[in-house]
């Protein structure tokens, strides 16, 4: 007979609940799976088939974990959004800014890579390398708060998205100010520069954050996948 307790503990590890609550959920689900398995065995199914069918009842462990946490917490949507998106998102944003500042202070300089004519794209390689870790952290915190897959990825890429939003809002305001003050502004050149800068400051960081977020997603889904559990 499979060790249902071990299996449930393995798949439901990391639920954002109190230790007592978590233990109760584990014990309850274990008892359910044991009874289900035994009922199938009594119906004459072979052990392997009975175990397989019992496991199939759960389907998506990650979704079960999320649903249990949501049901137990019964938070208001706003509070839920706070834990699943805003807290991990702003934490990732703050850490990425702090880390960039620290790297700069330590003397790591960004590299400017130019394709032919200026302006070139600014690559801050040491900072970019750190971003997947920060993206992973944001994704992990969001998933601990039972965030959906989309919310988890949104939380991990939050800094890049926030910066993109700021770019989109600030640029037209800046242009309007330039027009009002009568500056001789070359819009084509500014748009070109923003596009090139966007690669180094938005697109690449977004990809780096996303890599971290996807890694956490993959890790959690593999931990939750029934195929990773040996049934003997």
């Amino acid at each position: 007979m499979p060790d249902w307790q071990e299996l449930v503990s393995q798949h439901l590890a990391g639920m954002a609940l109190d230790a007592d609550e978590k233990a109760e959920v584990h014990a309850e689900l274990t008892a359910h799976l044991e009874e289900s398995f035994e009922a199938l065995r009594r119906r004459g199914l072979l052990e392997k088939e009975a175990a397989h069918r019992t496991l199939r009842q759960i389907g998506d462990w990650q979704s079960l974990r999320r649903e249990v946490v949501v049901a137990k917490r019964r938070e208001r949507p706003m509070k839920k959004r706070m834990h699943q998106l805003w807290v991990p998102g702003f934490l990732t944003l703050t850490l990425s800014i702090v880390f960039e500042w620290v790297l700069y202070k330590l003397g790591f300089q960004p590299r400017i890579i130019s394709w032919g004519a200026p302006p070139g794209t600014l690559f801050y390689v040491p900072w970019l390398i750190s971003l997947p870790f920060l993206g992973a952290l944001g994704a992990y915190i969001s998933s601990r708060a039972a965030g959906s897959r989309a919310t988890v990825l949104l939380a991990s890429t939050f800094p890049a998205l926030a910066l993109a939003f700021a770019f989109l809002v600030m640029s037209p305001i800046g242009w309007i100010i330039e027009l009002v003050t009568g500056s001789d502004l070359d819009f084509k050149a500014v748009a070109g520069a923003l596009l090139v800068e966007g690669i180094g400051w938005l697109l690449l960081p977004c990809v780096a954050f996303l890599l971290g977020g996807l890694f956490v997603q993959l890790l959690l889904s593999r931990r939750s996948s029934p195929s990773t559990v040996a049934i003997d």
Binding site: E24, V25, A27, E28, L29, A31, H32, L33, E34, E35, S36, A39, Q57, I58, G59, D60, S63, L64, E67, V68, V70, A71, K72, R74
Partner: protein, 110 residues
Amino acid sequence: MIASGIKRGTAELAILSVLENDALHGYEIARRIEQQTKGSLRFTPAALYPMLYRLETQKLIRGAWEISANGRRRRCYHLTPAGKKKLVPLRSEWSELFAALRRLAGVSNA
């Protein structure tokens, strides 16, 4: 939205109904619902337990650990007075809905 609302509503009614007369543990709740609906309604643990926890946080049911005859610890749920109170309007709401749907289907088929 409607589909998930209906699903949740029927699940709530089904669970509260089977707990009306007996205190049952999760596996038995699922088994009774399946048996009494002749297999039309089936609860997987993934659907059942979040719903039980939701009903418990709403104080419509209460769970307590018990030791079964075979020595296994099981959490049995029973209806609270609030759950019993909730079941009455819930039943009439659903019976009104089904009657309305039957009338609608009758008109469509005419």
